[in-house]
């Protein structure tokens, strides 16, 4: 059914010894879709006197460490003494003029069961009825001692239920049901919470209590006009692994106030894009960025925006993301996201 196809030629193949190829599984395949822009790549020369020329491949060494899931030993390559002394912007990971970036897809999984389809509901009701009809008679003697209070209560309950089912055919009134209800709620202090929360009603996109049946994804807003909404991301600095970058960036951009778990040490999506010709990142010119998305789950807490890199955030479902995020970005990213 699913044909695992080689990715389009537009995908940049990073040499194996430097990065594990995550281009295998069908789902990951679809995220490998690249839309490289047709703008001509400028000849970039180093502007800042302190920097090594970035596009000079003999000088830059790519050191993305994407470790195998089954590896307990992180195969971090050690930096030489000279390299450790380099200032921060010299430790940026670059490949072919593209900045290597770790993106974070922070998800809040569904909290409650999804609503069944009307047909599903009817099917289940039908099967329940069939079960009741075909079931062996309930062994009262096995479960209740003869003459006990529990046995008496059970028999009364049965009688009530019998009357209820008959009344549904219009034979008798359901007066006893209310008495029944009072008795039962007196025993237990359990109240069933509503499936629709106040956050749903108010359509509060910052709340984590919204859309309990769906998966919510965190998107953040950058202080710019175009392409402002995106997943949180940050450039990889030597000698960090992708996972380390992801945790650090999430802490910096979204605050330390969340209980988060990253799913393994491996990215599950990839997106390559080019910067506008006049764009400079940290006083350096790059061709663009290569983003490796790491999946993470949030269990508690909330985002705290740092107001410098990030000015706003939202927890949105896959469909709602279309309204926030640029169409190109959504196209590249949508296949990583869950339908439910």
């Amino acid at each position: 059914m699913y044909n695992i196809v080689q990715p389009a030629a537009a995908v940049v193949r990073i040499p194996n010894e430097l990065i594990d190829d995550s281009i295998i599984s069908d789902q990951i395949f679809r995220t490998m879709f690249l839309r490289a822009s047709l703008r001509a790549i400028n000849n970039v020369t180093s502007i800042n006197r302190n920097l090594h020329p970035i596009l000079n491949s003999s000088r830059t060494r790519i050191r993305i460490i994407s470790t195998g899931v089954f590896g307990d030993q992180l195969e971090t390559q050690k930096l030489s003494k000279d390299e450790i002394k380099l200032p921060k912007f010299d430790r940026i990971e670059v490949h072919d003029g593209y900045r290597i970036v770790a993106g974070i897809v922070l998800t809040r999984s569904p909290v409650i069961l999804r609503d069944p389809h009307p047909f599903e509901r009817e099917y289940y009701l039908y099967q329940q009825r069939l079960e009741q009809i075909h079931a062996a008679p309930f062994p009262i003697d096995f479960y209740f001692k003869k003459g006990s209070v529990a046995e008496k209560r059970w028999k009364e309950k049965r009688e009530r239920e019998r009357i209820e089912t008959l009344s549904s055919f219009g034979i008798r009134q359901i007066e006893l049901k209310q008495e029944n209800a009072d008795e039962e709620t007196g025993d237990e202090d359990v109240t069933i919470a509503s499936r629709i929360t106040p956050a749903d009603v108010n359509n509060d996109h910052k709340s984590l209590d919204r859309a309990l049946q769906r998966t919510l994804y965190l998107i953040v807003k950058k202080p710019r006009d175009k392409h402002s909404w995106q997943f949180p991301q940050g450039g990889v600095e030597k000698p960090e692994t992708l996972l380390q970058t992801a945790t650090r960036e999430l802490k910096e951009e979204c605050g330390d106030n969340m209980d988060i778990w990253f799913v393994g040490r491996r990215p599950f999506g990839y997106y390559e894009y080019e910067y506008p010709s006049d764009f400079k990142k940290d006083q350096m010119k790059f061709k663009g960025a290569k983003v490796f998305f790491m999946k993470a789950h949030i269990f508690a807490g909330q985002v705290k925006v740092d107001k410098k890199e990030i000015i706003d955030f939202a927890w949105v479902t896959k469909q709602e993301m279309k309204e926030y995020v640029h169409a190109e970005y959504y196209d590249a990213v949508k296949d990583m996201l869950s339908e439910l």
Partner: protein, 286 residues
């Protein structure tokens, strides 16, 4: 001389025809008016929905192997379960071997599964759970089997079958063919409800339980755990009428998964909130 014309004729009462290879035998329809009717699922299953919505995606990421590691893993498994004839080693490329069954392995070794190429469909899944109860008391009297059978039936909602001994052990006065225990295989809805009960109610209440042993597993992703007799009383089905079970026995629970390594099986089960003891270092298994 008489010439026996009918010497080579065989007579059958009924003409026997081999079914055509394209004939797919079908089970008789499961109709409510038949005696063997078994109703379908009557509700949504919480654990199953969780697996399909959240767990499976995460497991796919966690159990992913890059192409070199995958090839290494498959080669190692193929080497472990060697075929009978050398020609089978070239089965993938040999066109004459295509669509033919794999021959038996060489020597007296066990047959083992060779994992397929990974895809979104090969993420580990829970297939069935086997609950097995061995009762030594049944050697004294067969009546003691009943409590075990009833307990398993209450826990799993399926009728258990009796397990008969396969060997003679004179020390324990055990002879071949004696009923020694009971087991029940559960799949689908009863399996997920049993798993739900375990993880929500029973496991949290077990006393001095550190988790499932980290070394548990049959090297092919199937994990087993054992319960003491006190665990039976923690099940809500038994807790409610505790007096009807005079003899509490311990039992084993085997989780059968589609995983091909113990690591993946453990990943699946821990996703279902079954804790494992952090213990000794586990080597890479692939």
């Amino acid at each position: 001389k008489q010439f026996h014309l009918y010497k080579h004729f065989h007579t059958f009462s009924v003409a026997h025809y081999e079914p055509h290879h394209s004939h797919i035998p079908q089970k008789p329809a499961n109709l409510p008016n038949s005696l063997d009717f078994y109703p379908g699922r009557s509700s949504m299953l919480r654990m199953e929905e969780y697996h399909h919505s959240t767990l499976a995606d995460d497991l796919m990421i966690l159990t992913y192997r890059d192409p070199e590691a995958e090839q290494k893993f498959i080669d190692k498994r193929k080497k472990k379960y060697l075929p009978l004839r050398k020609s089978v080693l070239t089965m993938d490329t040999n066109p004459y071997a295509k669509n033919r069954p794999r021959p038996k392995p060489r020597g007296n070794k066990n047959v083992g599964p060779v994992p397929p190429r990974q895809s979104h469909r090969t993420a580990p899944e829970l297939v069935k759970i086997v609950v097995h109860c061995m009762m030594k008391q049944s050697l004294l009297s067969k009546q003691h089997l009943l409590s075990g059978i009833m307990a398993l039936q209450c826990i799993t909602s399926e009728r258990p079958t009796i397990v008969y001994s396969r060997t003679d052990v004179s020390r324990w006065k055990l002879r071949k063919g004696m009923p020694i225990g009971c087991k029940v295989h559960i799949q689908g809805p009863p399996m997920y409800t049993f798993l739900d009960k375990l993880t929500e109610i029973v496991l949290p209440r077990l006393r001095e339980w550190q988790g499932v042993s980290i070394s548990s597993g049959d090297q092919n992703g199937n994990i087993t755990m054992g319960f003491p007799p006190s665990a039976l009383s923690l099940f809500p089905d038994i807790e409610s009428n505790y007096d009807m079970f005079p003899m509490m026995t311990g039992f084993h629970v085997v989780f059968h998964t589609t995983a091909y390594t113990d690591y993946e099986g453990r990943a699946l089960l821990s996703g279902f909130q079954i804790p494992f003891t952090p213990g000794k270092k586990i080597n890479r298994t692939f």
